[in-house]
């Protein structure tokens, strides 16, 4: 949340006193044909008991439809990225026919044909509509709200290069919250994109709001009140919807595509053969830049939050994951899992870090091999105990196999572990090396807050504000990344502990 001073708040109340919402229907036969074909295929897929085999086609088709209908760029523009999706669809046609039969195959061919025709036309119907809302010579503070935040910068650059008399400001829903009041705001619809973000209409930031919606969509009027038995209402007067077009009308319930949380969660929680630990409860979150991460639901569930709008002394704070909301920015390791201690500790260790980490990796890999030969953690723990490792237990053994554990407390227990890991000859060397790592971890733990604050206070945060993602390089070559959270999975899952807090790029088609 950003601090908004009284003058700005005053301006928002003034806007709310007089704001009006109008509609502008946009028609384009080629895009309508493509959208209708994608919808027909989606309807057919929904009738299947299991549409898994269809998804290789339906997901990229929906993504192409979503981009083409919401991003005001020429349809053939390379930055739009739909041409590769159409190529992917063409390649997937035969598989679709195998899984879905002839009807699905025919519809798939219709989707591909309509999509390729779109590109060959070279039209820009949405861009034309956006530009058409400003008359020549009109001096107006004009903004355009795009539903997919990742395209804001691209479209802004493109329109900026057109040499318009008055600049047009491209905005995401995140930008709109605290934007300086505009004269006019075009909201690129359909409005189902804002179902969970109704404020873009009900907390108006411009006295003139024009919703650009496709002629073949059935829109619903936004609700002006939310509370039972209330007085007052959202500050916007809504004009009646435009008359229905003759073409088939498509409603949001049919067309809205949501994040495929099941696929995202499955991808994130995939265990490797090195995962011997008991699974833990976690929740998937989609991050800006088409990344996703698993956040812990149990145990140590504290993460680092970066608030780019907070005063410098409060810009970075530790928070419980229960306090996180979409729009918040978290700081995680750019690669690898776990918390931020490791890259900060490596920073402290300097040139020695790599060699020390290699030793850590070696003894854990050796121990893991030995445990796997015993088949179960319990059996391995019991055997270690018999070998003289007095602290051996299934839980402790899991901890030793994890990334954060560096060595045992007792040197004799350590010896038993090294024998098991076939590193008996190097036991003393690795013990000392792990001692150095331990000291660095302790120092990192004590200074991490200050280091992250320094980083956030001294680096320009433009990339983070514009795209929701920013990588912060550390002096010794490591890095941490700040990600804006876009949404949370409705259901928790179980995953190996090693998969927690690992930012992972997920497939485009699972998201929107």
């Amino acid at each position: 949340m950003k601090y908004v001073d009284i003058a700005h708040a005053d301006a928002y109340y003034s806007v709310a006193r007089s704001a009006g919402l109008a509609w502008r229907a946009v028609a384009h036969p080629g895009l309508e044909e493509f959208s209708e074909a994608v919808l027909s295929l989606s309807r057919l897929a929904k009738q299947q008991d299991d549409d898994t085999g269809w998804r290789g086609f339906t997901y990229p088709a929906r993504r192409a439809r979503n981009i083409a209908t919401t991003v005001p760029l020429p349809l053939a523009h390379p930055d739009l990225g739909i041409a590769p999706l159409f190529a992917q669809l063409e390649r997937s046609l035969s598989a679709l026919r195998v899984y879905g039969g002839d009807e699905a195959g025919d519809l798939g061919e219709r989707v591909v044909a309509a999509g390729q025709a779109l590109i060959s036309l070279g039209d820009a119907p949405l861009l034309d509509a956006v530009l058409g809302l400003v008359e020549a010579g009109e001096d107006v503070n004009y903004g355009v709200l795009l539903p997919i935040p990742e395209y804001v910068a691209t479209v802004g650059r493109f329109i900026g290069s057109m040499g318009l008399e008055h600049p047009i400001r491209m905005l995401s829903r995140h930008d709109l919250i605290s934007v300086d009041p505009l004269d006019r705001l075009a909201v690129v619809g359909p409005l189902y994109w804002y179902r969970d973000h109704q404020y873009v209409l009900t907390s108006p930031r411009a006295p003139q709001i024009i919703v650009l919606t496709w002629a073949w969509y059935r829109e619903h009027l936004p609700a002006r009140t939310a509370l039972e038995g209330s007085r007052g209402h959202a500050g916007i007067k809504v004009q009646p919807l435009p008359a229905a077009a003759a073409a088939p009308q498509i409603g949001a319930d049919e067309d809205r595509s949501a994040v495929d949380w099941q696929s995202v969660s499955r991808e994130l929680s995939r265990s490797s053969e090195n995962d011997l630990s008991e699974p833990v409860v976690a929740r998937a979150a989609v991050l800006a830049g088409r990344y996703a991460v698993l956040l812990p639901e149990d145990g140590d569930r504290v993460v680092w939050l970066l608030d780019p709008h907070a005063p410098s002394e409060h810009r970075v704070a530790r928070v419980d994951v229960a306090d996180l909301e979409p729009g918040h920015v978290i700081v995680v390791r750019t690669s690898g899992g776990g918390d931020l201690i490791v890259p900060i500790a490596d920073e402290i260790l300097g040139d020695d870090a790599a060699a020390l980490r290699e030793l850590q990796r070696r003894w854990k890999a050796g121990l893991r091999r030995w445990v796997r030969q015993r088949r179960t953690i319990s059996r391995a723990a019991a055997e270690l105990r018999r070998a003289g490792c007095t602290k051996s237990s299934p839980q402790n053994l899991q901890n030793w196999l994890g990334e954060r554990s560096l060595r045992t407390e007792d040197r004799r227990d350590w010896q038993a572990l090294m024998v098991a890991a076939s590193l008996e000859a190097e036991a003393e060397t690795i013990w000392k090396a792990m001692g150095r790592l331990h000291s660095a971890h302790s120092e990192a733990g004590m200074s991490i807050g200050r280091r992250l604050r320094d980083m956030a206070n001294t680096s320009p945060l433009d990339a983070l504000l514009a795209s929701g993602r920013q990588v912060f390089g550390l002096a010794r070559g490591g890095s941490v990344t700040a990600f804006r959270i876009e949404g949370f999975s409705p259901a928790p899952i179980r995953c190996p502990p090693s998969r927690l807090m690992v930012p992972t790029r997920v497939r485009d088609e699972w998201l929107t």
């Binding site: 949340m1 601090y3 908004v4 001073d5 009284i6 003058a7 700005h8 708040a9 005053d10 928002y12 109340y13 806007v15 709310a16 006193r17 704001a19 919250i177 969970d196 109704q198 404020y199 009900t202 907390s203 108006p204 009140t225 939310a226 509370l227 039972e228 038995g229 209330s230 007085r231 007052g232 209402h233 959202a234 500050g235 916007i236 504290v302 608030d307 907070a310 005063p311 409060h314 530790r318 928070v319 419980d320 229960a322 306090d323 909301e325 979409p326 729009g327």
Partner: protein, 379 residues
Amino acid sequence: MAGLGLAAVPESASTAGEPIRDLGKPASNVVAYGTACRYERCPEEACPMARRLDEVVVIPNIAAGLELTDGAPSWRHCPAWLTFFFQLGQRVAAAHEEGTKTCAVVIPPVRSFAALFSATGAVVGVATTARAIPDIDTHFSSLASLKPGTPLVVKMGEKIYAARFSGATERSGASYIKIEYKGMIQFLPKQECHRAQVGSGGKRSLPKSVRPSRGGSIRVVEALLGDEAGEFLSVPTVDAVLVGHVTLLTQELESVQIRPEGEPAAAAPLGALLRPSRFLPDGGIPRSLLVSDRVSEFELPVADTPHVAVFDGARAFSRYRSQLGESSWIAILDRCSATFSEGVDVANQEFAVRRGTAAYLGGLEVPAGAELQAFERAR
């Protein structure tokens, strides 16, 4: 939509209900509460507010006489929307003082300053309507149940001391509170226990007297609260709890300076009126608490029941309202927050089990773009 409201009662009309207490404030913008309920789902004969037609309390419109600045070079009158939140806090607090637990939920076009001014209004509302002497039995019981060592502030004549609670005892059939001060135990008779309040600050941070000077903040408070200022500045209480994003609320709190209209030489931070314990300068007597809504930080370090709990955001409202169940509630729901719909659901659930309407808020004009749900709580 059903209209909850009652029109503001003009000055002359307020006498129709025979004010039971005139607080001695300027009579301009006088409003009344306790008159008939017009909410369509709440028939007058069943409405508890309608049964108190003769109870009318005059609530001074202090915000109307306020000028403020939040860093801008020029001062300005308190805008209508901030006046609304201030008055909302005042009225909810006044109603609570009269035994009515309110829930008021507001959805403004922007959340900024709404919770802060509601809480400030609540603190002022309590100060200008609360009975000077609380019920002795209740207050004594409240003190007697404290843990030994709890910090107390004790008023003796014109002076205030920081002390610690040491227990309760009986001597010759009379009840006493034992207070530890400077290593000595003092016995405060039950009938004088209102002189002790829960509070901290330490001796060094306490003023030597109730009115150390007439400059700065004190002058502003005196100008705004009149005769109530002395009590307001000398007795520590927790009349309002503000729960929310502490960093943001602190930023807002520290940015606003206020002064009474027509007194350009006087100025004070808004904190001089809200008086949250952790942000007061040395010598400050608290009247409110600012509490974080974060899971790992939420702490309600008070045994007393605040009159009003103000929740800045849906998260604070949905998580912590039950822990402040004896207080009246004001919730500010931010449409731009991801938890907005959760807050709306909570508000509508509470509304569904309401006891009655909050007719005493009917005269408040809801600012453009804002939505107000107000009712008397069932529990």
